[in-house]
């Protein structure tokens, strides 16, 4: 076997002085699935951006099929058969899926784009690789999982032989992940090569042939996947043993913090997204919300945090009704919120880290006194939180844009945890976060619970919900079909039956 791609002694220093890659040697063989793992900010995305021509290395060489190549821009990379699906999607929201896929190399009929052919091409690609999409749907109205498939199809349409997938599973449901893996295997069967970045070591074991581990910008190991255990990989990544098991003292359930009654929400399209949802969250417990993504979890969270108005029903926080109130009032009544899609509303990429950390509290002391805002106080808070939550960045003034995906998530977690909420609503809190940080977030969530706060945890990661929650509410088609006590007796299979709508608890039947 010969290397398809070899990156030799790659170093990358960003303009702000961050050394993201240090003398990295990286090689991928033809026809393999190569996992690239490492903590947040280890330099994985950077290395791949160098390969894709998005960033220029400060030092080093790239060899493709035994010949040295220069990749000054993605255009050249595409010509060389390299395609990349980014961690943060880069699609045009107002275009249809077919239009997005052919964008940049549209089939033409005379002077116009041949729409019929674009749709046909999309459909045939979609069939060949088992990546299901609806060619006519607009990106803005499609779920994340489908956007992901669109990104992959887009690179295939442009003739990529080497596919770089940057944390493709971070945004996927377990089912979608399985589908993706089927597709990836199909790609490899047809002679393609795949580089696969992920934080989930289960996935590394499941799909990859070899794995390269990075840490602080350097490669710390390259091994055949079969030769190592998950714990070995974790140790190479973090430099210490990682405990993936969480210690949780028995639940000390306090008074009720959040009461949700008969909540209904009808989307602008007229589709009912929430139907008669009722539950309580108590102080000192973690209530998990499980369900296949798209069954109303997003709407539930947004209604509860004041980002969407409920159509019917009632929400009380500490006894006071909050439905229909502004996001600020709801925050003031003690609700904090880690949003599921951090790039949409969790951060402002063009603002500084310090500003991002203050968006919910800038108008209160100590940040504002007598109507005067103190940037110094905002910065000081940022320095404290950055240290406390181990956020790796150039400094509190660095723009959010310059952070790695996992560090962005840490900024959000830092802000919401430090708000000292009575109810913490955490939606996909560890999406795209490395194992070290996942461990940290999990411990923090349990810590909040132990402090006697109420936690509502929404996650597509069933393992996460099951390992953290005290009770689990399952959503199906906008309804809660069961609220189950968590414990050793509760199995994934059992939950799965509820998630797929095959089982339903007595007393929840309404429609």
């Amino acid at each position: 076997m010969s290397a398809l791609v070899e990156m030799k002694q790659i170093s990358k220093v960003y303009p702000n002085g961050v050394v993201a890659n240090k003398n990295v040697d990286f090689a991928v063989e033809k026809g393999e699935i190569h996992a690239l793992v490492g903590e947040n900010g280890a330099g994985k995305s950077t290395l791949m951006k160098v390969l894709y021509g998005l960033e220029q290395p400060t030092h080093g060489e790239i060899w493709l099929k035994g010949a040295r190549v220069e990749i000054p821009n993605p255009h050249k990379a595409i010509d060389l058969g390299i395609g990349m699906v980014h961690q943060n999607f880069m699609l045009v929201p107002s275009f249809t899926i077919a239009e997005n896929i052919v964008l940049g190399s549209e089939p033409r009929k005379g002077r116009f784009v041949d729409r019929a052919q674009a749709i046909a091409a999309t459909e045939s690609l979609s069939k060949t690789y088992g990546l299901q999409v609806d060619p006519l749907a607009r990106i803005e109205s499609t779920p994340v999982g489908m956007r992901q498939r669109v990104e992959i199809l887009k690179t295939l349409y442009r003739g990529a032989d080497l596919l770089i997938l940057d944390e493709p599973t971070a945004v996927l449901t377990p089912q979608e992940t399985d589908e993706l893996f089927v597709a990836v295997r199909k790609l490899v069967d047809q002679g393609k090569t795949v580089i696969f970045i992920t934080h989930k070591l289960v996935e590394v074991k499941e799909i990859s042939d070899r794995v390269t581990v990075m840490r602080h910008g350097e490669v710390t190991g390259r091994v055949a996947t079969a030769d190592v255990t998950e714990a070995d990989i974790a140790r190479m990544m973090v430099g210490r043993a990682v405990f993936l098991q969480i210690d949780k003292p028995p639940v000390q359930r306090g008074r009720v913090v959040a009461e949700v009654r008969n909540l209904g929400y009808v989307a602008e399209t007229g589709r009912p997204m929430l139907r008669d949802v009722s539950f309580d969250v108590y102080a000192g417990e973690i209530l998990g919300v499980a369900g296949v993504e798209g069954n109303g979890q997003t709407e539930l969270v947004e209604v509860m945090t004041g980002l969407r108005p409920a159509t019917t029903g009632e929400i009380r926080i500490n006894g006071a009704p909050v439905q229909g109130q502004s996001a600020r009032r709801i925050r003031l009544s003690g609700v904090a919120h880690i949003p599921e899609d951090r790039l949409t509303n969790g951060v402002a990429l063009d603002a500084s880290i310090a500003e991002n950390l203050a968006v919910d509290r800038y108008n209160r002391p100590p940040f504002t006194r007598h109507g005067v805002l103190s940037p110094g106080k905002i910065k000081a808070q940022a320095m404290t939180l950055m240290q406390q939550f181990d956020i790796r960045a150039a400094g509190p003034d660095a723009p959010m844009r310059s952070l790695s995906g996992g560090n962005m998530q840490k900024v959000i977690v830092a802000r919401e945890f430090s708000a000292e909420p009575a109810l913490l609503i955490a939606a996909q809190p560890t999406r795209g976060v490395d194992i070290g940080a996942t461990e940290f977030v999990h411990n923090q969530l349990v810590g909040k619970r132990n402090e006697g706060r109420a936690v509502l945890l929404v996650s597509a990661d069933l393992a996460e919900v099951m390992s953290l929650s005290d009770r689990i509410a399952v959503m199906y088609k906008g309804e809660i079909v069961g609220i189950l006590e968590n414990g050793p007796h509760l199995t994934e299979e059992e939950l799965g039956l509820y998630m797929l709508g095959l089982k339903r608890q007595e007393g929840t039947r309404k429609v």
Binding site: A327, R328, T368, V372
Partner: protein, 365 residues
């Protein structure tokens, strides 16, 4: 880090100006018989000259005055525009707000009588209130009905102009004058002169105050923070609990206050009466100033002085040489193009920073 940014910014601005002026000179050389003399008029015209021929004397003080007057208006407009642009609201309404501001001062000047400082204060307040309200309209339309502010402000500019003409023709004009002007304003409402021999007035001082106030509002108040977050990501601002509708509406309204003051400067400081065709297009020059200054109020001061200098020099060049004003319009256009060519300068910045930081990195090991 920030100091380095400031340095890069300064280098960027100087580079833009030098390139633009060089191109301008080439153009002058093509159209003029005496290019050097003409260009000297452009570049040094607005400066006063000190002469010792008859003892100590400052000459051309009126040209210097022109520069200051021009800059005062431009800076007020630049502040108005940078406020809305900071919030990423592309309001182009400064023109109309300025016109109505001038109109409001005229109504107060001619139809209310009061002793000196009171009369002036009333007139300034009228301009500010009218500017505020005329900015509030597109602000509310955008915030609550999602009406695109570019369209609505341009429409409102047209309406403002019609109101201006209507009142001037039918109510405010001096019937005894041979052309369409109002009577001269009474002394009690005029902005006091600050430099003898010029029309530089108290408004230049108020302008400096405005720079400080706008800087303060943007950098040191919760409202300024809200503006910035709205500009950075509206959904994020909403998620954080900011009432973005209120901020959108207020940003345009507050911007109107400054444009209204610019209008008051024209009427109470420069013309001392109202004329038809007050100064078409001036409101849009505020956009140039704001762009030059990257919406930073402190830089608006510098950019306004620079741009005012250029415009004054242009008038002097036009008067004292065979070069027409169009040449300077071309130079202005080149400057705008160079500055808005965002692609060019970030590249340069990147190169500069990468060089510096790789040096640092290598030093560190």
């Amino acid at each position: 880090m920030t100091r380095q940014n400031a340095l890069i910014e300064a280098i960027r601005i100087v580079a833009v100006v030098v390139i633009a002026l060089t191109i301008g000179f080439v153009i002058t050389a093509i159209v003029s018989k005496e290019p050097v003399q003409a260009y000297t008029a452009l570049l040094t015209g607005p400066l006063p000259r000190i002469s010792f021929e008859n003892g100590f004397e400052i000459k051309n003080i009126n040209r210097f005055g022109n520069w200051m007057e021009e800059s005062t208006t431009l800076i007020l407009l630049g502040l108005a525009v940078s406020l809305v642009f900071k919030a990423r609201q592309f309001s182009l309404g400064a023109e109309g707000q300025m016109l109505l501001g001038a109109l409001a001062t005229t109504v107060v000047a001619l139809h209310i009588s009061a002793p000196f400082p009171l009369h002036l204060i009333l007139a300034l307040l009228a301009a500010m209130v009218v500017g505020f309200l005329w900015g509030l309209i597109p602000g509310m339309l955008k915030a609550y009905l999602s009406v695109d502010e570019i369209v609505s402000t341009l429409m409102l500019n047209v309406i403002a102009l019609q109101i201006f003409d209507l009142l001037l023709f039918n109510w405010l004009r001096d019937p005894t004058a041979g052309f369409i002007v109002t009577p001269l304003f009474p002394q009690s409402v005029l902005l006091p002169q600050m430099i003898p021999g010029t029309r530089v007035s108290l408004m230049s001082v108020l302008m400096l105050v405005a720079v400080v106030v706008v800087w303060f509002v943007m950098a040191r108040t919760p409202f300024g923070f809200e503006l910035k977050m709205l500009g950075a990501n509206r959904k994020f601002a909403e998620y954080g609990g900011i009432n973005t509708k209120r901020v959108i509406a207020l940003s345009m309204a507050v911007s109107g206050i400054l444009a209204g003051l610019a209008g008051a400067h024209l009427s109470l400081g420069l013309l001392k009466r109202l004329t038809i065709n007050l100064s078409p297009g001036l409101g849009f020059e505020g956009i140039v100033v704001a762009l030059l200054a990257r919406n930073d109020p402190r830089l608006v001061l510098a950019a306004g002085l620079f741009y005012g200098y250029l415009r004054t020099g242009a008038q002097i060049m036009e008067r004292s040489s065979d070069v027409t004003r169009e040449v300077v319009l071309i130079i202005q256009a080149i400057i705008i193009l160079l500055i808005t060519a965002e692609q060019l300068f970030p590249r340069f910045q990147q190169w500069w920073r990468a060089r510096r930081s790789s040096e640092v990195a290598i030093e560190r090991g």
